[in-house]
């Protein structure tokens, strides 16, 4: 499959502050790519560079096998949806949708037809005569998506489109964006700091930090096999539990304080060397409450019922540990529990390089 968007060794700096340095990224035709990272990681800058709203310091951008590095945003076959909606306040919804087409000098009949199609697809037919100020946040964002839709954009760019909406609407529109992608199968690039959005929407996620791509993979891989400590800690809520430990080759244990954990089932155990300082990472749902020869005894310190599941907090050698259990489970403060780790679902990182082993 050919690539829809190719980012080739781009650099970008504001004055002397370097935001992106020699970054490359290929996005396949029809792929839903999510750029995920904390604020200031350069994800929005990267999106603006792809859109042509910022001039690169170095490198190239290719869209649909066309070098668009020096092309105006309008000539890049893109549509963009912004966090602030960016609807033209003086125009009705209809005019907002048709603005791009009118700028291109499209025939009136064709404009009307395209608006009709987009409005039907997004269920905004009855809003066409209204001004943006008369719309709710969710409706505004639908119109903004429609604006990208009518232009027959090859590539859709989303810049944190759901961040200004409340939780319920966010989930609703997330679903609709996913459906839209299923129906249109356009290439979509989606910037967010919300890992749930990233996990649910993406074909592939590119996790960014400090202008560098930390890991580029499917949501499943990123969740289950995070490439480094940063990715492991950033993805997942509640986040992964970490224990500083030392590996003991002779009995294939790691030592945490004065506790020992048998990790002989870990997939890459052969790559560990004796006395290596490691960080042992385990997700809350991969901890079981059961007593066996490998379990650790500890006390319940806090219980957070969340409906579908219950989060139980405890600690091992004064490292806080969260355990995700069924919603129906019943625990009280200071209950004695025995926990055991699902080692083949854990991740072990080198303390120094912070890379996964």
């Amino acid at each position: 499959m050919k690539n829809s968007v190719e980012v080739k060794n781009i650099s970008f700096s504001y004055g002397k502050t370097e935001i992106l340095n020699d970054l490359s990224l290929d996005i396949k035709e029809g792929e839903f790519m999510v750029l995920l990272g904390p604020s200031g990681c350069g994800k929005t800058t990267l999106l603006n560079c792809i859109a042509g709203l910022l001039d690169l310091t170095d490198g190239q951008i290719w869209i649909e096998e066309d070098n668009v590095t020096w092309k105006e945003p309008k000539d890049r076959h893109i549509g963009m949806v912004f966090q602030s909606y960016a609807l033209y306040p003086s125009m009705t919804v209809e005019k907002n949708l048709s603005f791009g087409l009118r700028m291109m000098g499209t025939a009136k009949d064709l404009i009307n037809e395209k608006i009709k199609n987009a409005a039907t697809l997004l269920q905004i037919n009855e809003l066409l005569k209204r001004k943006p100020s008369q719309l709710s946040g969710g409706q505004r964002q639908r119109v903004a998506i429609g604006r990208a839709l009518v232009r027959d954009a090859k590539v859709f760019l989303f810049d944190e489109p759901l961040s200004n909406l409340d939780a319920k609407l966010r989930a609703e529109l997330r679903y609709e964006i996913k459906k839209l992608h299923r129906d249109l199968s356009n290439t979509m690039i989606y910037v967010t700091h919300d890992q749930i959005e990233a996990m649910t929407l993406a074909d592939r996620i590119s996790v960014m930090k400090d202008g560098l791509i930390q890991q580029l993979d499917t949501p499943k891989q990123i969740y289950n096999k995070p490439a480094n400590l940063f990715v492991a800690g950033f993805i997942g809520s509640p986040s992964m539990n970490f224990l500083n430990a030392k590996f003991e080759k002779s009995n294939q244990n790691i030592i945490v304080g004065n506790k020992q954990i048998d990790i002989s089932k870990y997939e890459n155990i052969n790559k560990l060397i004796n006395d290596q300082e490691v960080v042992f990472g385990i997700r809350p749902e991969n901890i079981n409450i059961e007593k066996n020869e490998n379990s650790i005894q500890c006390k319940v310190e806090l219980v957070e019922p969340m409906g579908a599941d219950t989060l139980v907090w405890t600690s091992v050698e004064s490292n806080p540990i969260s355990i995700r259990l069924e919603g129906s489970s019943n625990f009280n403060l200071n209950d004695e529990i025995n926990i055991s780790f699902d080692i083949n679902k854990s991740s072990i990182f080198d303390s120094k390089t912070e890379e996964r082993i």
Partner: protein
């Protein structure tokens, strides 16, 4: 007797409040006093004015001063009243306001959205320009206009007003545009707008409040201008303010205070009118920078 707090808090008229109202009323009276004196004086005849009871209401209303000020009073050797001055002022103000506001809006837009190299330097230059007293530039500008052959003409005075209005107007527009969400501009660029199209289709329709502020500033400023009109307009285009001065400053004959007063009121009617109809807009436009979305 004490009541249980419930519902809206009862409003009390406190001593502080009363003092505040007194102060406000006194301020209003202080500023209204001259207007009052001007209006009643313009409605008295000269005998009554000479009787020197300046604050008394006229015993007998006489309206002859008003038409005289408008069409018969002598400015120098010509006795046509203020009417030609009014016409001149309109001819100067209307094009000056339109040209300066339009150009400043375009400048402000370019400065706010198209961050070209040196934009900050240019912004600083505008700031500097807005605070230079224009007396400093009168002579050099006079020489330049003389060289261009438009000194002492209508285009000459319009050019001067446009030049002097632009720095401050550019600042006002730039600051207003800088407060608009930048995403709008980005969206318009993706939608295929170029520099001019975005300005006309996206930016101008959003500029109503700030344009009204700019128009008010320019109309009042240009209408009230005396110095530039005196220097640059030439004999045939003297604005109302210059003619008013000629009426009031008589070197011979009697000073007709009632005519002077009505002439002054007539001259200030335009700015007064502009403030009255647009006060609400003015406040809204000034505050508009604070509103996002």
């Amino acid at each position: 007797m004490s009541t249980i707090p419930k519902g809206p808090r009862p409003k009390h008229l406190t001593v502080g409040r009363i003092g505040l109202y007194c102060f406000i009323i006194m301020c209003a009276l202080f500023f209204l006093m001259p207007l009052y004196v001007m209006i009643i004086t313009s409605l008295k005849d000269m005998d009554e004015i000479r009787a020197a009871n300046i604050l008394n209401l006229p015993k007998e209303l006489s309206f002859y001063a008003w038409p005289k000020a408008w069409s018969q009073a002598c400015t120098g050797f010509v006795c046509e009243g203020l009417k030609p001055g009014f016409v001149n002022s309109v001819k100067i103000t209307v094009p000056s306001v339109i040209v300066s506001v339009a150009l400043s809006a375009l400048n402000g837009y370019a400065l706010a959205f198209w961050r070209f190299r040196g934009a900050y330097f240019f912004f600083g230059l505008c700031m500097f320009g807005a605070f230079i007293p224009y007396q400093v530039m009168v002579y050099p500008l006079l020489k330049i206009e003389d060289f261009l052959g438009i000194y002492s003409s209508l285009p000459g005075i319009i050019l001067v007003h446009t030049i002097f209005g632009m720095p401050i107007l550019t600042l006002i527009f730039r600051n207003f545009y800088a407060s608009l969400p930048i995403d709008l501009f980005k969206a318009a660029r993706i939608d295929g707008g170029n520099f001019i199209k975005i300005f006309f289709y996206v930016i101008i329709p959003m500029s109503t409040p700030i344009t009204i502020v700019a128009v008010i500033l320019q109309v009042t400023g240009i209408w009230n201008d005396f110095l530039l009109g005196l220097v640059f307009a030439g004999r045939d285009n003297q604005p109302m303010t210059v003619q008013l001065n000629n009426i009031v400053q008589v070197d011979y004959g009697v000073a007709e205070y009632n005519v002077d007063m009505s002439a002054t009121i007539l001259t200030s009617l335009v700015p007064l009118f502009v403030y009255f109809i647009s006060g609400r807009w003015f406040v809204r436009g000034i505050a508009a920078g604070a509103i996002k979305g």
